[in-house]
Amino acid sequence: MTIAPERLEELGPHQGHHGPEPTGIFKWLTSTDHKVIGKNYMYTSLVFFFIGGLMAELIRTQLFAPNNHVVSPQTYNELFTIHGSIMLFIFAGPFVFGGFANFLVPLQIGAPDMAFPRLNALSYWLFLTGSITMLLGFLTASGAAAFGWVAYAPLSDATYSPGAGPDLWIVSVALVGFSGIFTAVNLVTTIFYLRAPGLTMFRMPVFTWNMLVTGILILISFPVLTAALIMLYADRHFGTHIFSVRGGGVPVLWQNLFWFFGHPEVYILALPYFGIVSEVLPVFSKKPVFGYKGLVFATLAIAGLSTGVWAHHMFTTGTVLLPFFSALSLLIAVPTGIKIFTWIGTIWRGNLDFKTPLVFAIGFIIAFTMGGITGVMLASPPIDFYTHDTYFVVAHFHQVLFGSAVFAGFAGFYYWYPKLTGRMYREGLGKLHFWLTFIGFNVTFLPQYLLGLRGMPRRIAEYGPSDGFTFLNEVSTVGAYITAIAFVVFLYNFWVSWRRPIPAGDNPWDGHTLEWATSSPPPSHNFHKLPPIRSLRPTWDMNHPEHADWKYHQEEIKKRERTSQGVSHEN
């Protein structure tokens, strides 16, 4: 094998220019640049994270004391419905899949933009429209949707949930769903067709791999949700009886359809964040990711299994085959465990630089491990019979999803903030943000496990003084307030670095992947020059030729050749 000399490949000037670039608000409104759209997604979803978070604070305030009446039961039901819908459909998914993926995937694969830039813009505008639609329910006479983010039929039909609020919820989720489908089409195409020369599938960064698999999962699951939403809409307005018993319909069908989307959705939300952590840990340990191929296969295994576990949300319906769904759900712990151990293997014997992104990534591992273990318990039907629809489940999925979207999400945000803006955040404020989030998060959700074991059902607007739930709820609410303060610290950090910028430089972290080989923020069409791509870490190879990955791989190949020839050399 011949090795190309060390050089930066010159890229020709971009052909066919379109005149002066718009600036300011027009740039934001008209852009088809994946970086601008990615940022739009990120900032929009962060605004909705803030709105959904305020709803969570109201929910926790209501539950602070028994028989509390801060809000009415009707408003309470609307609040947790829209809180869940915002956090899952509008924050956790789009923040990473619309935001980070849009911004980073073309950069990480050395592409000038996404495959379909205008479709990308359409995705964003559908997303923004859908997100605003989600809030419009509060302005209608009968209030917003109040049937939980899962919208179980027949509670969600026209008899039990009349009014325009539920219709707006259906339209909102459908719009955001279409936005996700379009982004998935775009990302999958981009990853398959626009990789720079030399960037083979097994030289793709783990983040990009996870985005590819997430995109495929979205293409499998979101159309099912869209179809189910159309059926629900038809039941509500066109006189069909798909989900109503009276007309010969089957209510459980909704649960099957919803969770056939809903469980892949859980991994659609988690896999991208796994990807972020798999980028952050190697860089701040100055090591390659441990067991790269194992990690990629674990991602594929999770995606495969995730399409066959939906009915573990339906163990208590009495209508599903318990051992089958229990077995697959238990089995999914294996690839997830592989991921956790590869992350530990990555930081093992590294040179750990405890900057804010690394601290958040470790916070994610702690939260996710705990949430994952209680998830294994819930995969056992008898345990699920006891804890289903209680705060045990609420604690479990917040540890997993808050752990992913918030801890790993902020790990990524701080890590790529220099690349997004060209500026540096304030390290001290970042650490403060982490510690307040970590303390607030655990104080909020750990007591909820105990509440669940004591029998507190989820989605109850109030509880009695003699139920024995009071103290733990008080603790949980205090934790929620601490988490809220943490978010204010984050906003302040953002504001300070905006008003008094510190230039970050192009590669402040000694990054490994291609996005760190261009300027911060990257120019239009991303790269003037690309380093040669001979391994998973082209930027690292360029900056550390003596420790380059391709040298290691060549030694591996030589070793293998020697053993296959039957010649043993002791070095």
Binding site: P73, N77, A146, G148, Y152, P154, L155, Y160, V245, V250, P251, S285, P288, F290, G291, Y292, G294, T317, G318, T319, P323, A327, L330, L331, V334, G337, I338, F341, I344, G345, I347, W348, G350, N351, L352, F354, I362, I365, T369, M370, V376, M377, S380, P381, P382, I383, F385, Y386, H388, T390, G455, P457, R458, R459, I460, E462, Y463, H547, D549, Y552
Partner: protein
């Protein structure tokens, strides 16, 4: 087995297969025995704040839950101890570049195979307990029909023509009481006549959906007397949080006295 047409090697093969089947059976029996002994042996362990289960079925669930928690402790430590060690030990001291380790097949195989063995074991014990918890007796001592509705419950004892039902909705409800005999098996027939509800008795470590159009059956064999709260666990609309009931477990003789005192089709608590 038709041995006359098989040659020596084929006969060897069949015995080998026979041994394999036997070994498989043995392994399975061993796993079952180990599983059940661990489930039964969990009696003297801490409860981990899990309800002990006031029915025979709930007690099985409790032991299974205990077992899961016990196994989760070493699993949790297998992540947290190396993580803590790495955080303390490998904190940056200088700008040196550590050894660039890419992978290690033996380590990767270890952290793949051990979790597979753990979940395989958890699956075996799960299925054992699940079969006990979901078993429905062919000849129960008592049958009760339970219907969930917005927002209350109807308990009907068909053999005695006695019905108890929630009266009033929203703040002024009179909650119905489900009375069950201790030590006897009651089969509950559960359904809903409007939306999905969850029939949930936390002290019994059990819940089941009341689904419109679906008939669900399950057994309770209470193992202690007392009054236990019951709740609706599945969001069912405005007054979901107030859809309460109580379960009163009494001795069989007390039960017979109580049921004989109820006039037919009594309503209210």
């Amino acid at each position: 087995m038709r041995t006359e047409t098989t040659g020596e090697s084929a006969r060897l093969k069949t015995t080998k297969i026979g041994q394999k089947v036997k070994l498989g059976r043995l392994a399975r029996a061993g796993a079952l025995a180990l599983g059940s002994s661990m489930v039964l042996g969990a009696c003297n362990l801490p409860t981990f704040a899990i309800n002990k289960g006031a029915t025979a079925q709930g007690r099985d669930t409790f032991h299974l839950f205990q077992l899961f928690v016990i196994i989760s402790i070493p699993v949790l430590l297998s992540v947290f101890i190396p993580l803590a060690w790495a955080i303390v030990r490998y904190r940056r001291k200088d700008n040196s570049i550590p050894k660039q380790t890419h992978s290690s097949i033996p380590i990767e195989v270890t952290y793949t195979v051990i979790p597979i063995l753990i979940v395989a074991f958890l699956f075996v014990v799960t299925v054992q307990v699940e079969n006990k918890v979901t078993a429905v007796s062919a000849h129960p001592n008592l049958r009760v029909n339970v219907v969930g509705f917005q927002w209350g419950w109807r308990f009907n004892y068909p053999a005695f023509d006695v019905t108890k039902v929630t009266q009033g909705v929203g703040g002024s409800s009179v909650y119905p009481q489900l009375v069950l005999p201790e030590g006897e098996t009651t089969t509950i027939h559960l359904t809903s006549n409007d939306v999905v509800h969850g029939f949930y008795v936390p002290q019994f470590d059990f819940s089941r959906y009341a689904l419109p159009g679906v008939n669900n059956y399950f057994d309770f064999t209470p193992n202690q007397t007392g009054t236990f709260i019951g709740r609706c666990s599945q969001l069912c609309g405005l007054y979901h949080s107030e859809m309460l009931f109580t379960v009163k477990v009494v001795t069989p003789s007390q039960f017979n006295t109580w049921i004989s005192q109820q006039s037919h089709s009594t309503i209210g608590a």
